[in-house]
């Protein structure tokens, strides 16, 4: 069976891993620690494809009817 890249599906928003600098900026912007970010499992299909490790932060660019684009940040956790 042909392997399908789910990231190309239209209902899957764009996920990108942040680099260390971006991560730090994000935490500084909201004055928070990693623990205060919304979480996502390392076993999440998209995270597996991105090879995200626990502690990484992923930016999700969601389409929104009212706001156009809404960025969301989630920290990868074990599982």
């Amino acid at each position: 069976m042909k392997e399908i890249d789910i990231r190309k599906h239209e209902v899957v928003p764009k996920h990108t891993l942040l680099n260390e600098k971006e991560k730090e900026e994000l935490l500084k912007r909201y004055n928070i620690t990693l623990k205060q970010l919304p979480r996502i499992l390392a076993s999440d299909p998209v995270i597996k494809l991105l090879n995200g490790q626990p502690g990484d932060v992923v930016m999700i660019e969601r389409k929104s009817l009212t706001a156009g684009q809404a960025d969301y940040f989630r920290v990868v956790i074990k599982g």
Binding site: Q36, P38, S64, L65, T66, A67, D71
Partner: protein, 830 residues
């Protein structure tokens, strides 16, 4: 004292002993003189409930001492009813002989860190003990608190022996940490302090004990009897019986609603309320006393309408205003006014009920001591004065389904015994005056008052976040009145229009005119440069240009609550105060118009001219024929079968369409023939009722349905025994070709009753459903909060949303799904 952490677990008998201040064993509670016996259940060391007595343990008086636990040594161990199930699970998991876990050590290694539940562990157990290789007997759980192995009953003593032998490493696999399973079987019973179970002294001097005390007396008594019998060497069966009885009493002490066990009763036959019953249910400790509490400074009474007060006011009866108070700190500036309140005292409004001295002492003001108190008042005192006009109050009507169910109003003290509110605030509260009651709360601090005013006042809740329009607006009579005034080109003489305008406002200049039209009168109250175009409910065009109503009637679409386009725009462009003023003005105007012109309805409003009746009759006849034709077609198998439907369903569908069309046609006929009367006017303007209601009274009710289908239940293959089996004609399936006015046949009436009952049931089921949904939603969202950096966070300060609602827009302020920034800028600067 600082609470560092809370640990949940099973209480250890050692701990019971350590927490206790007294060992109890006496069966008597009081001696001959009526003093509590030491070692009895009301032991003075357990705390105080009577005023004037000091605690023997801590020396505190009532209020200071919260009580101390005691303990009872049980002669024989008993099972804790709520742990019985866990016990059974544990027993099955361990070897009957050596008490080792029945799982292979190799297997254990694999699952060590997995935290499996009892059920999952059970799946891994062996038939034979992997340690001592002994056979495992069949265990049975005899509800509610006994166990047997084969034919032999396992006594709590044996249970304990087995559990005690389980090694700690096996327990860790099962999930016990810092806990021993034998603690699940009780050997010591903690006796709660007397403050938990206070006795009440009746007027006769008799003492009445709490239910828990009664239960504890039973336990102590049986425990002592059991001990005596064992000491005497009584036969085994007597001891067994007493032991069983002790188990029963301790079981019901924890939970008096165990299935299969008769509940313990009071002497009078009343079922005792024991520990579980105190905590459980809506009235229990959690839902009744911790999650929700009774509050002070609140009032509740029947509501009634008052169009003369403003929408952000509430009429408070004088008797209530003299009971509810606001604390005011005395300063040099208000000293004299405050003194006046005290002079009036508690019985003359506006007076005061209490003074609080600078040292914090509260003193009740009575007609006798008020003169004295006035003399001592100096700055620094606090006076709890009666409610007076202008005070802030929170007004609420249950069910509180949205935030507009609690709003801040300004108080207006009035004679009478009901709360008064402006009719326009009925929609947000969903209130009417058929006996509705509402609650009033008085914020007690300046912060609370200001906060209520800023966040909760009626003005701040004109727009509903549900549909971003005004939820407060004209309805019922207000719409009738305005429609009557503005519809067509009615002329009012100088005398008439002067009276109308003066009824609203005594300041407005009366135009120098001989005559004024209704539209001109309405226009007076519009903002000067206001322009809008909209469609009236009837489809007519309504045009307002520069504050002048040029064409079209004012109806629900213009000023109605939830729909009013004019109200929407006024609130948006001129603000809440202008909205309030406008709404109040048109309310007064509408009522004045109705009073001057008169407004009444009659059954004759539904009268139709003979030719209309004939027309409708023919129409119904036509429908009948059409349906009969469809049925014939169906029987001949010639019916057009619709995609995805069986022939029968296609027929039903065809009939439904025919019926719907006929109803529309009848509506047209009514529209054509009905004289312009008040009933019709109410329907047209959206004040009350609809054209469907008129069709149902004047012409016909139409098809009665159940679950969206034509009637089909009752007898086998027919709805009534006088129809042929399998009859699918209109009459046989609940078609009512008559209106309420001409009357229904008994069969039609019955069909209608079926239909009505279904809608009634649906309605009640739906409200219950949505009520529970709301409760769960509130539970999930209650501690979310928008922080100052515009992130949505929960109580642990974790981010839930980075921008509220993804777009950061306030749903009550948006227009067509967003904000038109250009237009707002144009209005403000252009």
């Amino acid at each position: 004292m600082l609470v560092e952490r809370i640990e949940f677990g099973i209480i250890n008998p050692e701990m019971v002993k350590r927490l206790a201040v007294a060992k109890l064993s006496k069966t008597e509670i009081y001696d001959q003189e009526g003093y509590p016996i030491e070692g009895g259940l009301m032991d003075p060391r357990l705390g105080v409930v009577d005023p004037g007595v000091r605690c023997r343990t801590c020396g505190g008086s009532v209020g200071e001492c919260q009580g101390h636990f005691g303990y009872l040594e049980l002669t024989k161990p008993v099972v804790h009813v709520h742990y019985a199930k866990i016990l059974f699970g544990l027993l099955k998991l361990i070897c009957r002989k050596c008490s080792r876990i029945l799982i292979d050590p190799k297997e254990i290694e694999k699952i060590q860190s997995k935290r499996l539940g009892l059920k999952e562990l059970m799946k891994l157990t062996r038939k034979k003990c992997p340690y001592c290789n002994s056979e495992q007997g069949k265990l049975k759980f005899i509800k509610p608190y006994s166990f047997s192995e084969g034919a032999e009953l396992l006594s709590p003593v044996k249970l304990r022996e087995r559990l005690e032998k389980i090694p700690n490493e096996d327990l860790e696999v099962i999930g016990f940490k810092k806990m021993r399973p034998e603690w699940l079987v009780l050997t010591l019973l903690p006796i709660p302090p007397v403050t938990v179970r206070p006795s009440i002294t009746l007027e006769t001097g008799e003492r009445s004990e709490d239910d828990l005390t009664h239960k504890l007396v039973d336990i102590v008594r049986i425990n002592e009897r059991l001990k005596e019998n064992i000491d005497l060497g009584a036969p085994d069966f007597i001891i067994e019986d007493l032991w069983e009885l002790l188990q029963y009493h301790i079981g019901t002490y924890f939970d008096n609603e165990i299935s299969g066990v008769p509940p313990a009763r009071h002497r009078s036959g009343r079922i005792l309320k024991t520990l579980s019953q105190r905590l459980k249910t809506k009235e229990g400790r959690f839902r009744g006393n911790l999650a929700g509490k009774r509050v002070n400074f609140s009032a509740r009474t029947v509501i009634s309408p008052d169009p003369m007060i403003n929408i952000d006011e509430v009429g408070v009866p004088e008797v209530i205003a003299m009971e509810l108070t606001v604390p005011v700190r005395v300063s040099e500036n208000n000293l004299e006014t405050m003194k006046k309140f005290v002079v009036n005292g508690p019985d003359i409004w506006p007076g005061a009920n209490y003074v609080i001295r600078p040292d914090g002492r509260r003193k009740k003001i009575t007609p006798q001591n008020k003169e004295e108190i006035v003399k001592e008042i100096t700055p620094g005192y606090v006076i709890e004065r009666h409610l007076k006009d202008g005070d802030i109050a929170l007004f609420n009507r249950q069910p509180s389904l949205h935030r507009m169910s609690v709003m801040a109003h300004r108080v207006r003290v009035m004679p009478g015994k009901t709360f008064r509110l402006n009719l326009s605030v009925c929609p947000p509260y969903n209130a009417d005056f058929d006996g509705d009651e509402m609650n009033l709360h008085i914020p007690q601090t300046e912060e609370a008052q200001v906060e209520a005013q800023i966040l909760m006042s009626v003005q701040k809740h004109i727009r509903s976040p549900r549909f971003s329009g005004p939820i407060i607006g004209a309805f019922r009579d207000q719409i009738s009145g305005l429609y009557l005034l503005t519809e067509g080109e009615k002329k009012f003489s100088r005398e008439e229009f002067t009276q109308l305008i003066r009824a609203v406002d005594t300041e407005i200049e009366i135009p120098e005119k001989e005559y004024m039209t209704g539209k001109e009168i309405f226009s007076i109250f519009l903002p000067k440069n206001f322009s809008i175009e909209l469609k009236a409910k009837s489809g007519e065009k309504v045009v307002i240009k520069n504050g002048k109503l040029i064409e079209g009637p004012i109806d629900k679409a213009a000023v109605g609550a939830e729909d009013g386009k004019i109200l929407d725009k006024i609130e948006r462009e001129y603000g809440a105060e202008a909205f309030k003023k406008f709404l109040f003005s048109i309310t007064r105007l509408a009522i004045e118009v109705l009073m001057k012109s008169g407004f009444s309805i009659s059954i004759s409003d539904q009268d139709l001219p003979p030719q209309a009746t004939q027309e409708i009759k023919n129409m119904i006849e036509g429908v009948r024929k059409e349906v009969d034709q469809s049925i014939e077609q169906f029987e001949r198998g010639e019916i057009k079968i619709l995609a995805g439907r069986t022939p029968k369903e296609s027929l039903e569908h065809a009939i439904k369409i025919t019926l719907n069309q006929s109803l529309n046609k009848i509506e047209e006929v009514l529209n054509k023939h009905l004289k312009n009367n008040y009933t019709l006017m109410m329907a047209k303007s959206g004040a009350r009722g609809s054209l469907v209601n008129m069709v149902q009274t004047a012409a016909m009710i139409g098809q009665e349905t159940i679950m969206g289908e034509r009637m089909q239940r009752g007898y086998i293959d027919r709805t009534f025994p006088h129809f042929k089996k399998g009859d699918i004609s209109l009459e046989a399936k609940g078609f009512v070709g008559r209106g309420f006015k001409s009357g229904l046949t008994p069969f039609e009436f019955f069909f209608d009753a079926i239909n009505s009952r279904e809608s009634l049931m649906d309605k009640s089921l739906k409200t219950r459903h949505s009520g529970y949904m709301e409760r769960r939603l509130v539970g999930a969202l209650q501690d979310l909060k928008v922080e100052y950096d515009d992130t949505v966070r929960d109580s642990a300060n974790r981010i839930v949303q980075f921008v509220p609602g993804e777009d950061g827009l306030d749903p009550s302020k948006i227009e067509r799904g967003g904000l038109d920034v250009d237009r707002i800028a144009d209005r403000l600067f252009g």
